[in-house]
């Protein structure tokens, strides 16, 4: 049976998380269909049809799905489930929100944040904030998985030529409604898909210092800006910039941690980065245990120097 991949998008364009999810799905089987559910999202479906390895795109375009409310989306995915052996979604806040709801509606257990596909029923996933890796096997007939997108190389966005089938399966559960949204606007690359991430912690001391010290370096490197929980809780930066067990999981080519001690919960979000640089005035800070390059020093001196010399 085919595999259904749930597309992550903002009604205007497909998110890169979808491409990584398709890559993970390819390791489970080869007939991959992508579901695009949203409102005014024809362009997203057209984009999804070009993705390498996708054989069919299902488009469900209705106001009921505009904000991806879990109550409505879960009913839609449950209806489609009969034709699929696997349902796969990225482990974004959206995927984490509706997938367990689908699983319960189907009365099956599910697997969260798979980081490796061993076979169609066996997966690796991190547990205990990434301090252990569990190999989990499921004997459910229907396999529901969310995948850690940073653990899979994205498939090509071009090269496919899938057909787009328009569905009309509107569910409005009537239990929830959208009220408002406050989205952080940023011109920088998206944190979870950036090649380089520059993160700041409590040592930045205030929000202005993020603007003054972290952002120029990030701009120089075309990097995304991240933060530790301490910096978020102290109000220096908004919470969607938090990297860690409870924030975003990133795995860029280069992660620069400035003024971050490296608590277990923070490491859980970034320790799969290819190269980690730590800038800290405390050589004993736990971040040193994962850093490839450790520069001991005051970040207020080091960051401007680094920015100017790049």
């Amino acid at each position: 049976m085919a595999i259904l991949v749930y597309a992550e998008h903002d009604n205007a364009s497909l998110k890169k998380a979808t491409l990584s999810t398709v890559a993970a799905a390819q390791a489970m089987g080869d007939d991959i269909h992508v579901l695009v559910a949203g409102s005014g999202c024809q362009a997203v479906a057209d984009e999804a049809a070009k993705v390498a390895g996708v054989s069919k795109v299902l488009l469900e375009d209705d106001a009921a799905y505009e904000y991806q409310l879990a109550e409505n989306v879960a009913l839609l995915v449950k209806d489609l489930a009969a034709d699929y052996s696997h349902i796969v979604a990225p482990a974004t806040t959206n995927g984490k929100n509706f997938m367990p709801r689908v699983a319960a509606l189907l009365d099956v257990s599910m697997i969260s944040e798979a980081s490796k596909v061993i076979d169609a029923k066996t997966f690796e996933r991190p547990i205990y904030a990434g301090n252990a890796t569990a190999t989990v096997q499921t004997s459910e007939d229907k396999v529901l998985v969310t995948v850690r997108t940073t653990a899979f190389d994205a498939v090509a966005a071009e090269g496919g030529s899938a057909s787009v089938e328009t569905l009309s399966n509107v569910h409005d559960a009537g239990k929830s409604s959208f009220v408002s949204e406050e989205l952080a606007s940023s011109d920088r690359p998206e944190l979870t898909s950036a090649e380089i991430v520059v993160s700041g912690g409590r040592a930045l001391a205030n929000g202005e210092n993020f603007t003054k010290y972290i952002e120029p370096l990030a701009d120089k490197l075309s990097a995304a800006v991240g933060a530790s929980r301490a910096a978020v809780d102290a109000g220096y930066v908004p919470n969607d910039m938090q990297v860690g067990q409870t924030g975003k999981i990133v795995a860029p080519q280069l992660y620069i941690a400035a003024g971050i001690s490296g608590a277990i919960q923070h490491l859980a979000g970034m320790k799969d980065s290819k190269v980690i640089v730590a800038i800290n005035n405390d050589p004993e800070a736990p971040i040193a245990s994962v850093a490839d390059y450790f520069l001991e020093g005051d970040l207020f001196d080091v960051l401007p120097e680094l920015t100017s010399k790049l």
Binding site: T93, S112, A134, K175, E181, P283, L295, K309
Partner: protein, 250 residues
């Protein structure tokens, strides 16, 4: 209005976990156990709703070994009114836990069910969503603000790009994110009083739920170690290493 809060007994978040030599799991013998931090936030939110006059009674439930009653007592000391321990020695999986919680919620007629967004041991982030699905009610996951208005609750949620507010009809299930509140500490007199608060003991069978799962953990391994890093003496050396050794910048 009644609230049900689910709490899980987990390894304390400050403890560095050790994987057992036979790869059967994580070594939990002689380790400090606590209420899962997200569950603590759920208890705190329920207590605040009670202090605000929105909720009359808080029932706290835990599914797990006999020792989980310590975590229920801890929640009672923070302000919950009574506890339900659903005792089982089997590993609790989210779907089974959700089925038991549904049984309790329906028995008690609770309007607001609060859970943590995820347990820091299995990192699943599933139970609340599954419970909402089984009960056929709305869900407010990753909540950073909760406002009850009449028969509705507005939940501000932490999503990838920022914040989203949804309105849910009651009853509803809410899962807490870190920034929802800062949990209080239990005071000694309250810890003493908590010992006298009622605590029912039940089994999964009382709710017609069979434990176990169609999931099986084949092995648990420590994550791959990173190669030891080097200390660099200057910014120039750092740039040189990043350019010529790691080749991550141009």
């Amino acid at each position: 209005m009644k609230a049900l809060v689910a709490v899980k007994r987990v390894i304390d978040y400050n403890v560095k976990v050790r994987v057992k030599a036979d790869n059967s799991g994580v070594d939990l013998s002689n380790t400090k156990m606590s209420i899962n931090p997200f569950c603590e936030i759920a208890v705190e939110e329920a207590v605040r709703l009670k202090e605000a006059g929105v909720i009359d009674e808080i029932i706290v439930a835990s599914i797990g070994p006999k020792e989980a009653q310590e975590q229920i007592r801890a929640a009672l000391a923070l302000g919950a009114d009574r506890g339900v321990l659903v005792q089982t020695d089997e590993k609790p999986y989210p779907l089974q836990v959700a089925k038991i919680l549904k049984g309790i919620a329906e028995q008690e007629g609770t309007d607001i069910i609060l859970l943590g967004k995820q347990a820091i041991d299995d990192d699943n982030n599933q139970t609340g969503q599954m419970l909402a699905a089984l009960m056929g009610v709305g869900q407010g996951t990753f909540a950073s603000e909760v406002n009850v208005e009449g028969d509705k609750v507005n939940v501000k949620r932490e999503i990838d790009g920022g914040l989203q507010t949804v309105a849910l009809s009651l009853p509803a299930v809410i899962t807490t994110d870190l920034r929802l509140n800062e949990p209080r500490y239990a005071k000694l007199p309250n810890i003493m009083k908590a010992k006298k608060k009622p605590l029912d003991e039940k089994t999964p069978a009382d709710f017609g739920v069979e434990m176990g799962s169609k999931q099986q953990i084949l092995k648990v391994e420590p994550p791959a170690e990173r190669a030891a890093g080097v200390k660099v003496a200057s910014v120039d050396e750092l740039i040189d290493k990043l350019r010529n050794e790691a080749k991550v910048i141009s």
